[in-house]
């Protein structure tokens, strides 16, 4: 059949965003971070993909899992949020965006294999982070996801402190991504950081050699 394993990998292997993604809330906003590697089997098909996808001006989501599923969910929710925000006449709430993502993830949970972390800022509740794994929706102070997250659960649990300010959060995100990317084969490339607060949405790229280094034999 055309999808057997004897052909080139990208024909039979689904394109996955190997990934490490993280989102963290601070007083006044959120910081999201992701790596940039997209793999199909053992082949890296895109080494600079920005997995932090905008759902609205002040709401972003981080993509992981199957690239096609994640991109499609993000684009659908982007469209639905545009319509919703026009209907209510103001900027949508982060909880609304997370609910839209959850609705798709839950209804098609058997067919889809993507996990999106939704994070943003709204006027009502400030900075918020929502995890939507497998169709649940839960607000958390921070969330990690993707194959690289397994390697950094210990680090984030030990290093997270309540009441961090914006710069501390950004440094925390960069450190986490750097550690995960050095240990997880499916994560790598550059690090994308997005900081959302009341006044602005700032996107930043940190290239490979500018990432912090830790103990490395």
């Amino acid at each position: 059949s055309m999808l057997d394993g004897t052909g080139p990998e990208w024909l039979s292997e689904e394109v996955k965003t190997g990934t490490t993604i993280i989102a963290i809330e601070y007083n006044g906003g959120v910081v999201l971070g992701s790596d940039s590697r997209v793999s199909a089997g053992a082949s890296v098909v895109n080494r600079v993909m920005n997995k932090l996808s905008p759902l609205h001006d002040k709401i972003y989501c981080a993509l992981s899992g199957s690239a096609a599923d994640a991109q499609t969910i993000a684009e659908m929710v982007n469209y639905q949020l545009d319509v919703h925000s026009m209907e209510i006449g103001e900027d949508p709430q982060v909880r609304s965006a997370a609910t839209l993502v959850k609705n798709i993830s839950y209804k098609y949970k058997e067919e889809l294999s993507a996990h999106l972390i939704v994070a943003g800022w709204d006027r009502r509740d400030g900075g918020q982070v929502f995890a939507t794994l497998k169709g649940l929706i839960t607000r958390q102070p921070f969330a990690v996801g993707g194959s690289g997250s397994s390697y950094v659960y210990g680090f984030v649990d030990a290093e997270y402190r309540r009441g961090m300010n914006k710069e501390d959060c950004q440094q925390f995100v960069v450190n986490t991504l750097s550690l995960a990317m050095s240990r997880d084969g499916s994560s790598g490339g550059v690090a994308y950081i997005v900081t959302i607060d009341e006044h602005s949405t700032e996107e930043k790229v940190i290239l490979g050699n500018d990432l912090p280094t830790f103990f490395d034999q």
Binding site: W10, L11, V15, A67, Q71, T72
Partner: protein, 280 residues
């Protein structure tokens, strides 16, 4: 309001109608001892690059059916709209039909908007169709064009994910071509340098990948102009025989008379062979 797309949107989920038909046909064929033809794949190296004034798409020209070359000079760069072209790798029929369907829908859309179509529109239409078929349409595409927002290049995978990048490669020869790009790509190249780069990338695929071969086709798309160079480079010209077994006109033929003589063998003397020992 009348709908403007020829393609009727599927009512959710994958339609298995053709699978039932195929199973039936296969049964019928096996009964008479034949087998259904296997899907012809374009082994392929395809690539695209964004340069200063536009995009350049490149492709090889070999189509394979298993281990046999089915077509030595097939065209893998498909027309989507006057300013957008698309290279296709994977199952030949899938790339051909998918690009034709989207080309048709895009033309209707363009007539409706009254504007030149945008590359992002073609990208959305292609990815939404491929996602709907969950990867069963084996079409991996490199989509490139120039529109009102400048030059754009996308790679589209069979499951429906897309990447927007300055240079992309697809197909079984993609790793060889990507190696050339990663070494020599620079942003804002001139047209001649970019054409040479794409030519070299496809050549790397042709000579290092068994599924790719024959000639190199290029398509240079700039604002207001498209150069469809087929072939741009005949990298594998069929060799010319240097000799010929045919006799020239006017040659006189003759034959040699051979007589056989019988020789009688006489034994005149017998010599005793002394013992010889061999020493290594």
């Amino acid at each position: 309001m009348a709908t403007l797309t020829v393609n009727r949107a599927a009512l959710g989920g994958f339609s298995f109608e053709n699978c039932k038909r195929n199973a039936l046909l296969e049964g019928e064929a096996n009964k008479v001892g034949c087998s259904l033809p296997s899907a012809r794949k374009t082994g392929t190296t395809i690539c695209g690059v964004v340069f200063k004034d536009g995009v350049i798409l490149g492709a090889d020209t070999r189509a394979t059916e298993g281990m046999v070359v089915a077509d030595k000079n097939c065209s893998k760069i498909h027309y989507i709209s006057p300013n957008i072209y698309c290279c296709g790798a994977g199952t030949a029929a899938d790339t051909e039909m998918t690009t034709q369907i989207i080309s048709s829908n895009l033309e209707l859309h363009s007539l409706s908007t009254g504007r030149l179509p945008r590359v992002a529109t073609a990208n959305r239409m292609l990815k939404q169709m491929l996602f709907r078929y969950q990867g069963y349409i084996g079409a991996a595409l490199v989509l490139g064009g120039v529109d009102c927002n400048g030059p754009h290049l996308y790679s589209i995978y069979p499951h429906g994910s897309t990447d927007k990048l300055p240079y992309v490669t697809m197909g079984s020869g993609s790793l060889a071509a990507m190696a050339v790009f990663e070494d020599r790509y620079k942003p804002d190249m001139e047209e001649e340098a970019a054409k040479q780069l794409v030519r070299d990338a496809i050549a790397a695929g042709i000579f290092n990948d068994l599924g790719s071969g024959s000639n190199i086709d290029l398509c240079v798309i700039t604002k207001g102009k498209v150069d469809y160079l087929r072939p741009h480079d005949e990298a594998n010209k069929k060799g010319v025989r240097t000799g010929d077994y045919k006799y020239k006109r006017g040659t006189t033929g003759y034959s040699l008379l051979i007589t056989h003589r019988r020789h009688d063998v006489f034994i005149s003397s017998m010599e005793m062979m002394s013992e010889v020992t061999c020493v290594l």
